[in-house]
């Protein structure tokens, strides 16, 4: 049945070469944990992506209940966590995943560093990786404010104050971040927009570039 449907589409659109080109290539021995167990370090990149997928999915579902408004934000998070079925799990995925994705990204970066994979011709992918790192930090920073509880409020206050302390541009950055004179209603909507639209968009673009480069350059050779 599935085979028949596949054949039907394939006959018309010739899709086999498309996924063959993506998926059908050998895993070199030095990155295959079945040959050398220590090669599991090569899985960290994929694991980082896996958790990113969980973040995006769980985040999309959270927005079904969450409202970025100073009166209702806290109540909506409380409601989705305590009264909606599986709310603890979906919020838990997003909450713990946010930390885990940073850990995984860090381990992946260590692997790339110690295998010297950032060297010519892969310098550009290192640069893209660093940009991904900053986008992830941005997602963590903006997401942390959204529950609008005391931790969220004061953590963001501290973050904004740090931005404020930068010479010359600090005060402008601060106003841009808070969207006004105080950390309040306009900050919350701003952070929400950045958290769910701008940064995920940037992240997807960067990840695309990351993967295209890996595919065209291949994985780096053994040590």
């Amino acid at each position: 049945m599935m085979q028949k449907m596949y054949d039907w589409v394939d006959e018309r659109l010739n899709i086999t070469p498309m996924w063959r080109d993506l998926a059908d290539h050998e895993v070199p021995e030095h990155v295959n944990p079945a040959h050398h167990f220590s090669a599991f370090v090569y899985c960290f990149g994929g694991l980082t992506f896996f958790i990113t997928v969980i973040q995006i999915l769980s985040g999309m579902f959270l927005t079904m209940y969450y409202v970025p408004d100073v009166i209702n934000a806290y109540e909506s998070v409380k409601y989705l966590q305590n009264e909606v079925a599986f709310g603890v799990i979906v919020r838990g995925m997003h909450h713990w995943g946010a930390s885990l994705v940073i850990v995984m990204m860090f381990l992946h970066t260590l692997r790339v560093f110690f295998t010297g994979s950032y060297k010519k011709p892969r310098e550009l992918n290192w640069v893209v990786g660093v940009l991904i790192f900053f986008v992830m930090l941005g997602l963590g920073f903006t997401g942390y404010l959204l529950p609008w509880d005391n931790t969220a409020y004061f953590a963001t206050k501290v973050g904004v104050q740090i931005a404020d302390s930068v010479p010359f541009i600090g005060p402008y950055v601060k106003t841009l971040l808070t969207g006004g004179d105080i950390l309040g209603a306009q900050t919350l909507t701003r952070f929400f927009a950045i958290h769910v639209f701008f940064l995920p968009g940037a992240l997807l673009g960067l990840l695309g570039a990351h993967f295209v480069m890996i595919r065209s350059q291949g994985i780096s050779g053994p040590l």
């Binding site: 579902f61 079904m64 109540e75 909506s76 909606v84 079925a85 599986f86 799990i89 979906v90």
Partner: protein, 172 residues
């Protein structure tokens, strides 16, 4: 390739990978789907009855009463105001009608229709209803006005949930 009933290494690995992948994906997606469809599966609050006055206040002429009910809309709780048109017939039976038009949900009023002082009238598409809420055949509504559950207790009239009005349409 081997015997037909034997399964090749490639097929076995394919199934094993699809199984594991499917299991992982299901573990991720199931809580999210259940979370999203929760509004479908959540019970509906019963709703307490609210007192709107003494039965003596009502007569054969419809009287408009407003009462407040507590509504819980997710994390947002508020008092919302409901309206009922109440009549008492000569047998002392009380009928409390909802003013929400059964055509497309506008609000009806008593006696405001052109030349129809003894009917409910909906201005949106000229919907008409008799004094008992029966929809007048030939006007847009296809059902009679809903009624509130009523209860007289300790000299007070209480209104409860809205239920369908069983009366069929009548000719105007």
């Amino acid at each position: 390739m081997g015997d037909k009933r034997e399964i090749s290494r490639r097929t076995f690995l394919n199934y094993a990978l699809m199984g594991t992948g499917g299991f992982l994906a299901a573990g991720m997606i199931t809580p999210m789907i259940r979370f999203a469809v929760d509004p479908l599966l959540q019970g509906h609050a019963g709703g307490d009855k609210v007192a709107v006055g003494s039965p003596d206040e009502f007569s054969a002429v419809p009287k408009r009463v407003e009462f407040k009910v507590h509504t819980k809309d997710g994390w947002y709780e508020s008092e919302s105001t409901l309206t009922a048109w109440v009549t008492k017939n000569d047998k002392g039976e009380i009928l409390a009608l909802s003013p929400i038009c059964k055509h497309l949900g506008c609000t009806v009023d008593w006696g405001t229709g052109p030349g129809q002082p003894n009917e409910y009238f909906c201005p949106c598409h000229m919907g008409r209803y008799s004094i008992n809420g029966e929809h007048i055949l030939g006007t847009p509504p296809t059902a009679s006005l809903d009624e509130y559950e009523t209860e007289v207790k300790e000299g007070k009239l209480y209104l409860g949930k809205v239920k369908a009005n069983p009366r069929p349409g009548v000719n105007g």
